[in-house]
């Protein structure tokens, strides 16, 4: 095993360990804004430990689809995370075009949860599933628009250096999020800064945060993601909670990958980690200062993100 792989494994391990810290940070920031003490920073860890020790209750109408959902979703998220460059180290599993696999692994995880929700036969969960499917269908083109822009940039950079043998490798997540993009915007390509902004919006949408969904509400009729997982309990719920934390880390790492310049390994990794934690705090601030959008307005938010992504794409092509 070479040094790069070892370093990557350390980073992956860090991500797996620290992911449940992100919801804790968000909750702390929200509590401070509201003038409350807030729950402990490590609450998600305590919840996971508690849920793993609990038994499970399964509805009479549910089949194996229901029980399989959380496992599939967690596995898919883990696989997607393993394709990402973490802390500046390229993923050993990366290959040209792996961003497609990563995006659809997340899609598969969502699909498994939607099936599990529909399997319960509850009208609430059916509504939640339909909302989740509708909004993720709108979020997907936005994600691919940004990927399109990043691949074209990455190809440009490779052509520029004249190493045509690496053209295929330029289409991997590791090439797109390894720090080259940051170098480019630091060199004056300001339009590239639109990409992290769009990723931040996607982070809010995909992780069901305010202004799209309210993770704290108890009102079944307004929920999107939370209502889909109402019937899960015990270890399966733990998998969902942990999977959600990993997904948050995934999107935060994507955003951070576009904001950290290539530095010596440990410095880049440290900076990346700091940005990820700062993003969690930023989510907390967003949740504290604004109300939720009504459901019919969410497509407008995603449309705005798509417009930003298109603008960035056009500007990169014009150069």
């Amino acid at each position: 095993m070479n040094q790069g792989t070892v370093f990557y494994l350390i980073q992956l391990f860090l991500a797996l360990i620290l992911a449940p810290l992100l919801p804790g940070i968000i909750n702390r920031v929200k509590a401070r804004f509201a003038g409350r003490q807030g729950k402990p920073l490590l609450q998600t860890y305590y919840d996971l430990a508690r849920l793993l020790r609990k038994g499970e209750v399964i509805g009479r109408t549910a089949t194996w689809t229901f029980s399989a959902g959380p496992g599939v979703a967690l596995a898919a998220t883990l696989c997607a995370l393993a394709l990402l460059p973490l802390g500046g180290a390229p993923s050993p599993l990366g290959f040209g075009g792996d961003f497609l696999l990563a995006a659809y692994l997340l899609g598969m995880g969502r699909f498994a949860l939607i099936l599990a929700a529909l399997d319960t036969g509850s009208s609430f969960e059916g509504m939640g599933a339909s909302r989740e499917a509708a909004f993720s269908a709108l979020a997907e083109p936005v994600l691919f628009l940004v990927f399109l822009m990043l691949t074209s940039l990455s190809l440009d950079l490779v052509r520029h250096t004249g190493q045509s043998a690496e053209l295929v490798a330029a289409l991997s997540l590791s090439a797109m999020f390894g720090g080259q993009a940051t170098e480019a915007w630091l060199a004056g390509r300001a339009e590239l800064l639109l990409a992290p902004a769009v990723f931040f919006v996607l982070l809010l949408v995909e992780n069901c945060r305010i202004p799209v969904d309210d993770p704290n509400t108890h009102l079944e009729l307004t929920m999107i993601h939370e209502v889909m997982v109402l019937d899960h309990s015990g270890p399966n719920l733990a998998m969902i909670v942990y999977g959600a934390a990993l997904k948050l880390w995934f999107f935060a790492a994507l955003t951070a990958g576009l904001l950290t310049p290539p530095l010596p390994l440990w410095q880049q990794a440290g900076l990346c980690l700091l940005i990820i934690l700062a993003l969690a705090a930023a989510v907390g601030v967003v949740e504290s200062v604004m109300a939720r959008l009504r459901l019919t307005r969410i497509p407008h938010l995603l449309g705005g993100a798509a417009a930003l992504a298109s603008l960035a794409l056009i500007l990169t092509q014009v150069r």
Partner: protein, 506 residues
């Protein structure tokens, strides 16, 4: 039509007996002419259980501060008023359930208070829920057990995708026979009767304890002609307005919470507690129980207490103003509230809505203004026109300012008149009521106009005692506000009405 001043009890013998068709004609004509239905109920011949009952309808004309009463001899069936007068809808269903009088031609005749059976069979199978048919129409049932710590109620939505075609609300899970218990209180002897009735009414709707207790005391005082000293009126109003402040503050926080706007949600939860604690300083109970007595109040305030309360009131008022302003100034909150759950003025009037919900539609209905219980200087109704959640929030926000000013003025008047502690010794309640009288008390609780009504028989015994909580008028308004709305807007819309389940169920 037989009309009388709202403060005076009416003489039952001077009320002509009409036949049902004539009553229907007169009520519909009056409602078209700007009168409003206060209560429509079955009036038994004698206090004996199972006595045959006739109809009795009490109407109010707010501009002239006049009431009118109409009644019929005992009957079993009558032509339904609802098709021409939607205000009668719930009253007629209640009449059918409570007295067995059948409104013939009622469009949706089913009990209002009998809780549906869990499986939908048994007796309630005869009263199915309204259904919209179609391949893509789906039904969503919520409750009676909810995800929050709230009262039980069942909501049945007919949805087309996210759009609500129809909402039917089934209540009655909290029905405990309050009106029967009020009547039965006389079995405890004359000394105990009034005290027991007051206790019962203080928990008619626990968040409106002072308002219901005030309505009951006013009703009895009007029936017996008892005068109440000004100091007692000041204390009663301090209790009423503190109740309004606490609940409006809590409601605005709950609306903020439902939009996901955390700061106001958290702060208002705390500030509501401050107002409740002030009520506790006045009478020893955070919800104002035990404050009122027949003919006066059970507690009084010395100047030092008034000063202390004023200081706390100013601080809490400042905090509340700040918290609410942050919410109402946030563009995302206004966008969320604007246009959500909108009711138009004509529908609000036709359904007979009262209180905050009616004022948000531009109807100038505020019993403090059109039926003041005392001669103290009062307020003007706070009106908004748009009828949506934002309007209901704005009405609450402005009423908080009014209430703060009222309480502060009342406290300074109380502090200025030391020595005259007349309120501390309320008179003994009368052992006998005057015979054959009908009295009405309208009190503006924080949710809306509370109406209590009593009719006595020839022996001075209670013949009928009717409690109409504002929730009884307003639940149909919530169902209508949801029509063609988004099902995801329901919790927010529900919070903006914030109706009482137990006040409706009695």
């Amino acid at each position: 039509m037989f009309s009388f001043d709202y403060r005076q009890p009416a003489d039952m013998d001077s009320l002509p007996l009409l036949d049902a068709a004539e009553l229907r004609r007169r009520v519909i004509r009056a409602v078209d002419g700007g009168w409003r239905m206060l209560a429509f109920f079955g009036l038994p011949e004698t206090a004996r259980p199972g006595a045959p009952a006739g109809l009795c309808c009490v109407l109010a004309h707010d501009a002239t501060r006049t009431l009118a009463a109409l009644r019929t001899p005992p009957l079993e069936q009558f032509p339904s008023l609802t098709p021409d007068c939607p205000q009668a809808h719930y009253f007629e269903r209640e009449m059918y359930e409570q007295w067995g009088l059948e409104p013939v031609g009622h469009p949706w005749l089913k009990p209002v208070r009998r809780a549906p059976d869990a499986e939908g069979d048994g007796e309630s199978a005869a009263y199915p829920f309204y259904r919209a048919d179609g391949d893509e129409v789906h039904e969503v049932a919520v409750g009676p057990v909810h995800a929050g710590i709230i009262e039980p109620g069942h909501f049945r939505f007919q949805c087309y995708g996210e759009n609500v075609l129809h909402l039917e609300i089934a209540l009655g899970y909290q029905h405990r026979g309050l009106e029967a218990m009020l009547a039965a209180a006389s079995a405890y002897g004359p000394a105990q009767t009034t005290a027991r009735r007051l206790l019962l009414l203080e928990c008619a709707a626990g968040d409106s304890s002072v308002a219901h207790a005030t309505a009951h005391c006013v009703l009895w005082e009007r029936l017996t002609g008892q005068d109440v000293p000004e100091r007692a009126w000041l204390l009663r109003r301090v209790g009423l307005e503190l109740e309004r402040l606490a609940n409006h503050c809590g409601d605005l926080g709950a609306i903020a919470g439902d939009t996901g706007f955390l700061p106001t949600s958290s702060w208002n939860g705390r500030i509501r507690g401050d107002f409740l604690n002030m009520t506790a300083s006045v009478c020893g109970n955070r919800f104002g129980r035990g404050l009122l007595r027949y003919g006066g109040t059970a507690h009084d305030l010395c100047p030092e207490e008034c000063e202390d309360l004023t200081t706390r009131l100013r601080a809490a008022g400042r905090d509340a103003r700040g918290a609410v302003d942050i919410m109402l100034d946030a563009a995302s909150v206004r966008d969320r509230l604007n246009g959500t759950g909108a009711l138009n003025r004509a529908d609000a009037r036709a359904l007979g809505l009262v209180g905050v919900a009616a004022r948000a539609c531009g109807l100038p209905l505020d019993a403090r203004f059109h039926a003041p219980v005392s001669d103290l200087p009062g307020t003007e109704p706070c009106l908004e026109q748009s009828g949506d959640v934002l309007a209901r929030a704005l009405v609450r926000s402005r009423e908080m300012d009014d209430s703060l000013a009222l309480v502060e003025a009342d406290l300074s008047r109380l502090a200025a008149r030391t020595g005259a502690r007349t309120a501390a010794t309320p008179p003994a309640p009368p052992s006998r009521l005057p015979a054959r009288k009908l009295a009405v008390a309208q009190v503006e609780g924080w949710r809306g106009e509370i109406c209590h009504l009593a009719v006595t028989d020839a022996e001075g015994e209670l013949l009928a005692c009717k409690i109409v909580d504002p929730s009884f008028h307003n639940w149909p308004g919530l169902a209508l506000a949801m029509r063609n709305g988004q099902i995801s807007d329901f919790p927010l819309c529900n919070k903006s009405f914030n109706l009482s389940y137990c006040g409706h169920d009695l």
